[in-house]
Structure formats: structure tokens, C-alpha cells
């Protein structure tokens, strides 16, 4: 049963990736701007017409888009992401350098956001009308409306300039000799900004579904029957988690988008920063590569969330819903 479900999910994942690649390739080509000029970057003012034509030919940019796409797809399926037009190095090498940083930032922030919002949301949701309840509502509105870059600057000003206890940019000591502790120190601020700006809104979502669950008839019956509060709570949280997990799944793609700003501000060398750079320089091979890898990450995360839901929700196992 589960294997069939997993298989179906995987096929869907591949279809999604295929659609993503198709759309991004064509949207990219339709965007205004000349890749040959972007190739020259800051020297674009010194690019002449002849030079432009030569670059265009050299990178086969004068071929029909569909032809370029088929060629790209063929190579990608074989595992060859091509050569970055701007850096002249294999795209896969460039991505491999960045991937661990993105995974680290993403997993750490996601972990703390989920743990933090589970705890906050449960406490606030179970005690409707309490200080916790009202406090969380205010907190979530406040934190989710703070712009991440502004909070980031504030963090830097406070922790790096005034207190001087945390490094404000990069993913490690400038000479790369800092080791693990140093890496974690560099992680604290970017992760902190993402956690603070996201935890409230997730907690609030859980809080609301717990409140709804708490008012359900079955809970009242259980309480009337003298079931221990500990077990009631467990039941409520478990049931309230289904919409909460759904909400997480829904927001993961936009979470990836939001982390790009944080990566740029703290010069955290992850995939987000790389994608932005690839867009700016119209480095098509690099851009497609980073979009595809980000796509795979999103699909995989959603798959994990689905698995958790599958484990928690008996209705899913019976194939009742969807």
C-alpha cells in the first residue's frame, strides 16, 4: 500500500520538475535583455555589436528556443548540467559548493520554526483567552510583518557592531580555518532572522486549529469522562497538526524565496544567492541548474511532509481523502 503511494508521489514529483524546467526555460528566454550583454556585466558599456554577435553564436543563443530546450533536457537527463557561461566552470561543481550551505540554513531554520511554533501554538491554543493566547497573536502579527532585511541590519548592528559577539557575514572565517563552531556562529544570525520572522505566523496557524479542535464535541466528551488532560492534549495536537502540516507544505516554496534576501544580506553563500546572480548575469546553464536543484529540494521536502501526514492521518492511509 505505502509503496504504491510512494511510487505515485515520485512520479508526480518528476512531472512537477519537468513542468518547472519547461516553464522556467521559456520564461527566461522571454525576459527582456541580451545574454551577450549580460556576459560583459559591468563592462557592458564597452561591448560592441560584433562582439555581441560572436558571443551569441558561441553559446548557440541564436538557435530556436525549443531546440535549445531539447538540447538542454537531453544533457540534463544524462546528468550533465553544462558549463556556466559566466564562470566557465561546470554548473554541477558550482552548485555542489553551495548546496551544503543551503541545506544547513534550511534544515536548521525549519527545525526551530517547527519546534518553536509547535510549542508556542500549543500553549497559546490550549489556553484560550489567556495572556499566552493574546500575546502570541500580537507577536505573530508583529514578527511576520517585519521586513527580514531590516531585522537583519538590526541584528548586525546589535550583535556584531555593538556587542561584537557574532560575525555578520559569510559562512565561516575568511581563511576557512574556523571549523564547526565557527560555522555555527556564522549561522546564528541568518537563521535567527528567518526563525523570528516565520515562527509566529506558523504558531498562530496551529493555535487557531487547536482552538477549533478544543471546542469539538469529542473533546468535551473525553473531558466529561475524566480522560487525563495529558492525553486529551495529545489527541488535540495530533488532529490540529494536519492542517498545520498542510500549511507548512504550502508555504515551503515561498519560504525558499524569502531566504534569498537573508542569504544576500548576510552573504551566506547558498543557492538563493547563486540563483539571483545567475538571473542578473543571464547565465542560462547556471540558472537552470540552480532552479532544478531548488525544485528537487522543494519536491523532496513536500514529500517528507506528506509522509509525516500519511503516518499521522489514518484517513489518508485508507485513501479516503485525495
Amino acid at each position: 500500500m505505502i509503496s504504491k503511494w510512494v511510487g505515485k508521489r515520485m512520479v508526480m514529483g518528476i512531472v512537477v520538475l519537468f513542468i518547472v524546467s519547461f516553464l522556467s526555460f521559456f520564461i527566461m528566454q522571454a525576459a527582456p535583455g541580451d545574454p551577450a550583454a549580460a556576459f560583459y556585466g559591468g563592462n557592458a558599456q564597452t561591448l560592441t555589436t560584433a562582439e555581441k554577435e560572436r558571443i551569441t553564436r558561441a553559446y548557440a543563443l541564436d538557435r530556436p528556443v525549443a531546440e535549445q530546450y531539447v538540447a538542454w533536457l537531453g544533457e540534463t537527463v544524462k546528468g550533465n548540467l553544462g558549463i556556466s557561461s559566466k564562470e566557465g566552470r561546470p554548473v554541477s561543481d558550482i552548485i555542489v559548493e553551495r548546496l551544503p550551505n543551503t541545506l544547513l540554513l534550511f534544515s536548521v531554520t525549519m527545525f526551530f520554526i517547527v519546534m518553536g511554533s509547535l510549542w508556542l501554538g500549543t500553549v497559546a491554543g490550549m489556553k484560550a483567552g489567556s495572556m499566552w493566547d493574546k500575546g502570541l497573536s500580537t507577536f505573530s502579527i508583529a514578527t511576520s510583518s517585519i521586513p527580514a532585511f531590516w531585522l537583519g541590519i538590526l541584528f548586525i548592528y546589535f550583535f556584531a557592531v555593538n556587542l561584537g559577539i557574532l560575525p555578520s557575514s559569510g559562512s565561516g572565517d575568511v581563511e576557512g580555518t574556523g571549523g564547526v563552531i565557527d560555522k555555527i556562529r556564522h549561522l546564528i544570525m541568518p537563521a535567527g532572522v528567518l526563525i523570528v520572522t516565520h515562527v509566529g505566523i506558523y504558531a498562530r496557524f496551529l493555535q487557531e486549529s487547536i482552538k477549533i479542535e478544543n471546542g469539538q464535541y469529542y473533546v468535551k466528551v473525553a473531558r466529561a469522562n475524566g480522560v487525563m488532560e495529558r492525553f486529551i492534549r495529545k489527541g488535540i495536537v495530533r488532529n490540529a497538526s494536519i492542517p498545520y502540516l498542510n500549511y507548512i507544505a504550502m508555504t515551503i516554496p515561498s519560504f525558499f524565496g524569502g531566504s534569498i534576501i537573508v542569504e544576500s544580506l548576510f552573504a551566506w553563500p547558498g543557492l538563493g544567492q547563486l540563483t539571483v546572480k545567475a538571473v542578473a548575469t543571464k547565465d542560462y546553464p547556471l540558472l537552470m541548474g540552480s532552479i532544478m536543484v531548488t525544485g528537487i529540494l522543494v519536491v523532496m521536502t513536500l514529500f517528507i511532509v506528506d509522509l509525516i501526514m500519511y503516518a499521522m492521518d489514518p484517513k489518508l492511509r485508507k485513501g479516503g481523502i485525495r
Binding site: 560592441t48 566557465g88 557592531v161 581563511e175 565557527d182 555555527i184 552573504a267 553563500p269
Partner: protein, 526 residues
């Protein structure tokens, strides 16, 4: 539930440590607490590659040396070359190189490397941005191991300037395509610093090269730390995480109060202006161009946009020894501008706009969106041009979406601290029109007198004679303006007070060249 959380927390922490550990090579050595003899430069962006003929970076001056080199006054002198001879007809230059100069990999630098570098620049396959500098070169060849002969198509005095180009080691490119060569990420030069390590996305480290043929560097390591956000750069300078950073005009005032910093407000030869595209009919009338020049309030731009870190511009050679200050400066004067437009037949109607033959006086200034200073300037002047009845729009676009030849007007940035020919002939000579040559005369500007003077400037060798020629050139250009010159931008750097040895000189584009003599810098407490 909560016991489960704790287990998960422990498990997760272990995972984090593993990922963190994997992503960086494990190092037992912690950062040493004592002050190291190293300089950290806050780099605005990461480089795509470090091949100096494919991309210009701040590292060029550290990693590489050329046959010639500019000194403190931007005068060119010998560097790798020991001496040189110029033939009677000024067409053949013979350079004798110093013996025993080595690249960072220990191999000797010879005449072959010089020839290889020039040929690589001229090779279309490499798409070098320096190609137009060597258009006048007919051929280069080695006479012996230490002698290079360069032959020109016609006399070209600025050749010596062009030969400040970094020399590449021929042996590093045997059998490889220059665009994708490994050299581009592991450069080998003959400069005072050698490549050490490039932690992509984070920082790049250079190490003093002990066999350098010039002044031996005192600072052991120079580290370029990539920090794209300008506010973060300024904050890190404040906190001491970096030692040197280029500042935005708006940040200077705040950082001047810092006790541990020295601020260098350095003159540059980097000017901004509006290029008039002569393909547009109404620019063909010189009075229209002059009118817009008069209607530009440069003082306000320097004060408001550059926060005083710059100066008003009227000539392409202003911060230059050949500077002519006796020319028309187009001081802000709306009345004069209006009179000139009246004379040109552009008549104001009830809506306050000017018309001629039913056509409204209207155009668009194109500007690169990524350059906020240029965009601000474009917006400011467009607003100001309303005062003379012109309807001016601003199109802030991505560089890759801009075709300067197709723009009505463009916010240009040029200027060079070096030979007067640099950034003049290539911009204003008729034959340098970008349509049919490799020149940058995007607006198809053409003026016979200007052409003649620029040609004479190239071929004349006597400095006094040349000076007179370029003085006259500036006068002619002012009479028949190709650009509405706006302002020169200063380069403002903040640097740790304990660093000494910084030598100020007129800098080039975007403040490049601040690190030009870094081998002479030192920490006062070292």
C-alpha cells in the same frame, strides 16, 4: 511528546554538526587569537574569474604586473621591462625585459609570455574586453628570450599605457580554451601577491610572494571578503571585521566619527554625463544640446546625490594634467537655455511644453538600474528639464536590456586617469562609431576638428605639443558637446587607522586602483 522532542533535538544537533563538518574541510587549528598580519578588504561582489584580460578585478594589481606600470601620478614607467626603444618612424617599439622575474609557480617570465598576452587579447576567440586597446598593433614578436618587438599600423603614443596590461604565463594555457581554463580560478601572475585560496561565496585569500621582483610586501595576507550589501560593509568596517571598504556617499558622514578609521576621499577621473544620440534629429542642432547643458544643475547633483563627494564636470579630461579650465563650463542658467531653444525654433505652447513642427520636445534618458547614482542623476535632471519645456522620461533598465545606440540619450560613465587618448579617441572620433567599428562612440558623434585633434594627439610624442592639442580638443568639444557632462564621482574609502603606506592617486572607474601599491602598506603594530 516532550521526551520525543528532546530525542529529536539531540538527533538533529548531531545532524547539524555532521552537515557543518562536511561542508568545510576539517581543520583542527582554531583562528589564532593574536593579531595576524593580514588585511581584509570588503569586496562589493564576488568575481566570476580572475583572468585579467577577461575580467577586471581589484586583484589585478596584486596578482599581476605588466611590461609598464603607472606610478603615483598615473605616469607610465617601466616595470617588467628594463628599458625600451622607439624607432625613428614611431612604428616599432622594442622592449628589453628584466631577467630573472618569476611567476608565482617559479617559472621565469620571458618575452614569449608578453607576446602570448598581447596575442590572446587580440584573439577574437577570447572575447577580451581589452581588445580595442590593441587595435593599432600590427604584430608582436620575440627577438630573443628577453626582447619583444611591437610593430604598429600607425604611430600610437598611448601604446606604453596599454602595455601596463597584466602579463599572463603562456605555459598555463597550453592546449586549453582561455574562457574555460583552470587558470581563471587559480591565477598565476608575477605580482607581489600570489593566489592562495578561494572559498567560493565567502572569501578569497592572497599570500605575499617572497620572490617578487619589486618591493617585498609587508602584509602577509590580503583577504577579499565578499559582502554584497553596502550597509553590511559599512557596519563591518565599524566593527573591525574588515579593514578596508569602499563607501557609499551617504555612509561617509557617519563613519567619519569613528576613531579607528581613516577616511580617504579620493579624486577620480570617473565622470557621469548624458550622451546625446545624434541619430535623433533634434540633437543634430547644437543649440539644443547646449540648451540642455545649461539646464543641468550640477551643483545640486554634487551636493544632493554625491553628498559633496565629487565635483561638477565640464570636460572629459578634467582631473588630468592636460586639463583646460578656460572652456565653456555650462554653469546652470535656465534663461540661457530657454533663449537657445527659442533660437532653435522650439516654441513654448500653453501646456508649458515646447513644440517644433507639431512635434513635442520629448525624449527618454536610459540608465542602468543597478547603478543607483546614475539613476538618481537621470531622475533629477529629467525633472529639471521641465523648466525649459522638455518632457523627459527616464528608463532605468538592466544592463543586458540596454542598447545604447538605440537610446535617445544615455547616462554614460567614462573617464580615465591615464593617457589623454584613453577614453577620448574611442568615444568622440567619427571612426569609432560603435555601428561599424569596435569603438564606443555610441551616439555617432562627428566633428571634423575634434577628429583631427584626436588623431594628432595619438601620433604626437612631444608632451608640450600634445598638451596644446588636447587643450584645443576640449575647447572644440565644449563648443559642440557630445555629452552633457554632469559630475565627477569621488571614491571614498574607509580604512583601519593602523594601516600605513596608502598612497593617494586619482582613481579610475568606481574607485578602482585603491590597492595599487598594497605591497607598500603595513600594519603599524607589526
Amino acid at each position: 511528546m516532550f521526551t520525543l522532542n528532546k530525542k529529536m533535538l539531540v538527533l538533529f544537533m548531531v545532524l547539524v554538526l555532521i552537515v557543518a563538518g562536511c561542508s568545510k574541510k576539517e581543520d583542527v587549528k582554531e583562528a589564532t587569537p593574536t593579531k595576524e598580519n593580514r588585511l581584509i578588504y570588503a569586496s562589493e561582489e564576488e568575481f566570476e574569474g580572475l583572468n585579467p584580460i577577461l575580467e577586471e578585478t581589484n586583484l589585478d594589481a596584486l596578482l599581476f604586473r605588466g611590461v609598464m606600470r603607472f606610478d603615483e601620478n598615473n605616469k607610465v614607467g617601466t616595470d617588467i621591462a628594463d628599458s625600451f626603444d622607439v624607432s625613428e618612424d614611431k612604428l616599432t617599439y622594442t622592449f628589453t625585459l628584466k631577467e630573472g622575474i618569476t611567476f608565482h609557480d617559479g617559472k621565469e617570465l620571458t618575452a614569449e609570455d608578453v607576446v602570448f598576452t598581447i596575442e590572446s587579447i587580440m584573439d577574437d576567440q577570447n572575447a577580451s574586453f581589452l581588445k580595442s586597446d590593441f587595435e593599432e598593433v600590427k604584430s608582436t614578436k620575440t627577438l630573443d628570450k628577453y626582447t619583444v618587438e611591437v610593430t604598429l599600423k600607425q604611430p600610437f603614443t598611448p601604446l606604453l599605457d596599454k602595455l601596463t596590461v597584466p602579463i599572463l604565463p603562456k605555459h598555463a594555457f597550453e592546449g586549453v580554451d582561455m574562457r574555460t581554463a583552470d587558470f581563471n580560478s587559480h591565477p598565476i601572475g608575477a605580482g607581489p601577491y600570489k593566489f592562495d585560496n578561494w572559498d567560493r561565496g565567502n572569501a578569497l585569500t592572497l599570500q605575499a610572494y617572497s620572490d617578487f621582483f619589486g618591493t617585498k610586501p609587508s602584509i602577509e595576507k590580503v583577504i577579499f571578503k565578499f559582502i554584497p550589501d553596502s550597509n553590511v560593509r559599512a557596519l563591518q568596517l565599524k566593527s573591525g571585521e574588515v579593514d578596508v571598504a569602499l563607501l557609499d556617499p551617504v555612509q561617509v558622514e557617519n563613519l567619519q566619527k569613528e576613531e579607528n578609521l581613516t577616511i580617504y576621499d579620493m579624486e577620480s577621473s570617473d565622470y557621469r554625463g548624458i550622451l546625446f544620440n545624434m541619430n535623433l534629429d533634434f540633437w543634430k542642432d547644437v543649440n539644443v544640446r547646449r540648451a540642455f547643458s545649461y539646464a543641468t544643475d550640477r551643483e545640486q547633483i554634487v551636493k544632493g546625490i554625491l553628498k559633496g563627494h565629487g565635483s561638477v564636470a565640464y570636460s572629459p579630461l578634467q582631473n588630468h594634467e592636460f586639463h583646460n579650465d578656460q572652456i565653456e563650463k555650462y554653469t546652470y542658467d535656465v534663461e540661457k537655455a530657454n533663449a537657445l531653444l527659442d533660437e532653435a525654433g522650439w516654441i513654448e505652447k500653453e501646456d508649458g511644453m515646447r513644440y517644433k513642427d507639431g512635434e513635442k520636445l520629448s525624449f527618454t534618458i536610459t540608465t542602468p538600474a543597478s547603478d543607483t547614482v546614475r539613476t538618481n542623476m537621470a531622475n533629477y535632471v529629467a525633472e529639471g528639464f521641465k523648466d525649459i519645456g522638455a518632457d523627459v522620461k527616464v528608463a532605468a533598465l538592466d544592463w543586458s536590456a540596454i542598447t545604447i545606440e538605440d537610446a535617445d540619450a544615455f547616462m554614460v560613465g567614462w573617464g580615465s586617469p591615464y593617457d589623454a587618448d584613453h577614453h577620448t579617441h574611442i568615444l568622440f572620433h567619427t571612426n569609432e562609431s560603435s555601428i561599424n567599428s569596435t569603438g564606443y562612440n555610441y551616439g555617432n558623434y562627428s566633428n571634423e576638428k575634434v577628429d583631427e585633434l584626436l588623431e594628432k594627439g595619438r601620433t604626437t610624442t612631444d608632451p608640450d605639443e600634445r598638451k596644446a592639442i588636447y587643450m584645443q580638443f576640449q575647447e572644440e568639444l565644449a563648443k559642440d558637446p557630445a555629452f552633457d557632462f554632469i559630475a565627477y564621482e569621488n571614491a571614498v574609502y574607509g580604512i583601519n587607522k593602523n594601516v600605513s603606506g596608502v598612497k593617494e592617486r586619482t582613481l579610475g572607474h568606481h574607485g578602482s586602483g585603491f590597492l595599487w601599491n598594497v605591497e607598500e602598506w603595513k600594519w603599524n603594530d607589526q
